[in-house]
Symmetry: C2
């Protein structure tokens, strides 16, 4: 089958169709999305080797009869079920986890993918393939609400309004908080406005004033900027990984009693309910859809600054 | 009157007895304690100039009749009452605050101190001067319980078991959590054991295993060490300010969804109730008591590694 693999460099290759083992089913990928983590992987992040891709919707083509033919999305952390975190039912933090397309597990930029049945969620008919591809990042965005109690009267600022950042802002918006989104491009601003968010420029935000700041930049500069916006006793949510060890004003955290919360993968069931509600349309986020055969061009497109979601169709 | 002042260097000086203004009362200091912040101030921290000292017990010698003759302790943040934080009753984060012996307000290493009546708390007769001097740092220790919900079944590790660190461990212990304290000296270990804490060496703690870690080291190395001990979804409480901008593994925070909470000043009323209960005896923490006239020798003593509380008696 055709697949986009990374082995020191990204290439379109022909590999065998995977053979499900253990509790795995065989999935035929219908549509997949390129995420910043995929871009980072092609720069050597986590030293991953294998088929890239973890945002997808697929059909079960081999597996137990109750799953056969179902349209599904798949959680990306494959847990051992035995470590201390698994025993406490915090499986996304399994000590021995593999992660689809990220760590010790092939990904979804391929025609087929073998994945544990434990990881599957059925996609309701009301949710199109284009929307379903967003379940994984939307779940990650909803994770902010799992980890931090956001209140309807709060003053929230989000920085780093890219693919994941805009979804985070959308999720925050559901709390009815006042969510301002720092934008540099009209495209982001238009999406933000359509979703009831308030696009702002940096100098429109008073320093040390926001009760909650979400940093989706993944840069040392972004972290420092975020810290400068937050008010005493405020909460800073970190949503993206950072290169290296950024210098951090830890004394500011102490003196102003700021809480910093790291946030990663989130609840797929909640993301599916959100999409099933029909309350939102994520299609403005889609920049382009490429065939898997044009996967390298798709990555080149996704690497351009300000580009939102690029899709791959096997 | 005699006072220990810092003006680029610490010196014993003769200064006028302060004249209370506005809602201030005049306090005659009975006993005061040297804190790490005082030591840092004599190294230039916060560019403070004036009389040092913020841990004290005193007698009201001039003020409203209901306060006259009362033995009191005093909160150290003097709030404006008008800014957004004050209006939300978060007065310890007043935007325009002065801080006794730390910022724009003379301190307690003197015979007399003028302080707003808003800041006073009566000391019950059951609490000796020696214990009452600990109200300020004990309140700061209890602040960890104000900011973080610590549960009786949690596995907590404290590093940096000095003057403030031991009080933090003692406060944490009240939750009935399993509190291990990283110690290097037998003196700390003995106090920890007497308070029902578990003194441990570094290699006795499994990496990434503690649900809550409290870092009282105030060093970049301590922060890094603390982060290495915490488990996924754990909480790291920062209790001391850090020099400069330590490099921080922010990606670890994201991937393991760790929460970092900065913690500063705490509830005096709770600290007084704790001492009034008679459940603890803080005298093992007292290293020595000097007369104010020997204040420079007291500071020299307090600067020695491993030394706990040094007291000053005007």
């Amino acid at each position: 089958m055709r697949a986009l693999t990374y082995t020191g460099q990204l290439s379109l290759s022909n590999v065998p169709v995977p053979v499900p083992t253990g509790d795995q089913v065989l999935l035929k990928v219908r549509l997949a999305g390129i995420c910043n983590t995929d871009l980072e992987i092609t720069r050597g992040y986590l030293s991953f080797n294998g088929i890239v891709g973890h945002e997808f919707v697929a059909e079960v083509v081999d597996g137990p009869s109750q799953w056969l033919g179902q349209r599904v999305v798949g959680e990306i952390n494959v847990a051992c079920g035995e470590c201390d975190m698994c025993r406490q039912d915090i499986v996304s933090h399994c000590r021995n986890r593999a992660t689809v397309g990220i760590r010790n597990h092939d990904g979804a930029f391929a025609e087929y993918l073998a994945l544990s049945v434990q990881n599957l969620h059925r996609v309701p008919d009301s949710v199109s393939d284009e929307q379903a591809v967003f379940v994984e990042p939307l779940a990650a965005a909803l994770q902010n609400l799992s980890l931090v109690h956001l209140r309807p009267n709060q003053n929230v600022v989000l920085i780093g309004a890219g693919k994941l950042g805009l979804l985070c802002a959308l999720a925050l918006r559901q709390t009815q908080a006042r969510v301002r989104v720092l934008v540099r491009r009209e495209k982001q601003a238009a999406i933000a406005r359509a979703w009831g968010l308030i696009p702002v420029k940096f100098d429109e935000i008073e320093p040390n004033s926001a009760e909650v700041v979400v940093d989706c930049t993944g840069t040392a500069e972004g972290f420092s900027l975020a810290l400068g916006l937050i008010r005493p006793r405020g909460t800073l949510i970190l949503k993206s990984t950072y290169q290296g060890l950024p210098p951090a004003d830890l004394s500011r955290l102490v003196v102003d009693e700021i809480t910093v919360v790291g946030s990663r993968c989130g609840p797929f069931d909640a993301a599916l309910r959100f999409l099933d509600s029909g309350a939102i349309d994520l299609s403005p986020m889609i920049e382009a859809t490429y065939s898997l055969a044009d996967g390298l061009a798709a990555f080149e497109h996704a690497f351009q600054p300000g580009v939102l979601k690029v899709m791959l169709k096997p």
